[in-house]
């Protein structure tokens, strides 16, 4: 027998909910638009990935991946000063953006809002890497355009109650 969380996520609205969460976070915290688009990241340039773990009613992760220039610009929009390099402040900013997107997304599903917990952010940097999860139950992969920058956001569900 299906449980409420599973039924909710089978209704098919979760990708649109992610778009809505992304738009809300960028608008309120950066004063910027971020809209779904066919935007690709280059594998051979340094990329930054923020990861928020999801546990409880749904186990998995929310990831935000972008290039170095994008991360610097997002941090600048948030704090109002222009960082010169990928320092702790920039990683902190990217982690918080991912955290707010994960929170806003799960907040659109009543069962997940109260039954799914978020981890504190982890940030990975490097080139030409992939994040893998074993046998995800479902995943949402969406690309967005923020100014002239590409941002890729995924929700990966390992299991759901």
């Amino acid at each position: 027998m299906s449980t409420p969380a599973r039924e909710l996520l089978q209704e098919g609205a979760h990708a649109q909910d992610l778009d809505s969460a992304v738009e809300e976070v960028f608008r309120l915290m950066m004063g910027a638009a971020c809209t779904a688009a066919d935007a690709r990241l280059s594998d051979d340039k340094e990329t930054i990935t923020a990861v928020i773990g999801l546990a409880g009613a749904m186990s998995g992760a929310c990831t935000l991946r972008c290039g170095l220039d994008t991360a610097l610009r997002m941090a600048e929009c948030m704090v109002g000063t222009s960082p010169a390099e990928l320092d702790d402040m920039v990683k902190d900013a990217i982690g918080e953006v991912c955290n707010m997107i994960a929170g806003a997304w799960k907040g659109k599903h009543p069962v997940l809002a109260s039954g799914c917990m978020l981890s504190t952010p982890a940030v990975v940097t490097g080139t030409n890497y992939r994040l893998h999860m074993q046998q995800p139950e479902f995943r949402i992969d969406r690309s967005y355009k923020f100014e002239d920058h590409a941002v890729h956001i995924s929700i990966v569900c390992e299991s759901i109650q």
């Binding site: 809300e24 976070v25 309120l28 915290m29 941090a75 948030m78 704090v79 109002g80 702790d88 402040m89 902190d92 900013a93 982690g95 918080e96 955290n99 707010m100 994960a102 929170g103 806003a104 907040g107 009543p110 809002a113 109260s114 978020l118 981890s119 504190t120």
Partner: protein
Amino acid sequence: MSNINALIVDDSSVMRKIVERALRQAGLSLDKVYEASSGAEALEVLKSEQVQLVLSDINMPMMDGLEFLRQMRAQELAPDVPVVMITTEGSEEHVKAAIAAGAQGYIRKPFTPEQVKDRVLPLLDLA
């Protein structure tokens, strides 16, 4: 009301800056702004400093915001000072838990300066 001292508790330094900026945009005259990156650090600040407002995240390593709030109330640190939780966790259950722990206000991230103004100023009799 004269300038106030505020304590902002969040494991993200970026969020602490954003919250401080939102308080100033809300029209608050801040004298000193103390920052803490965990609940434990925040308790130490309250033992030595006078503040008139506390804003705290919930999801933090070591000691989360709800436990910080419970211990703050149990130890009677700044007993009359309003505490506003600012967090990504916006469900009704989380709000109830925060109120039960002793919070006077709740703001969900992401937020606007107007939301900060609407939630915080009434607690300081500045609305």
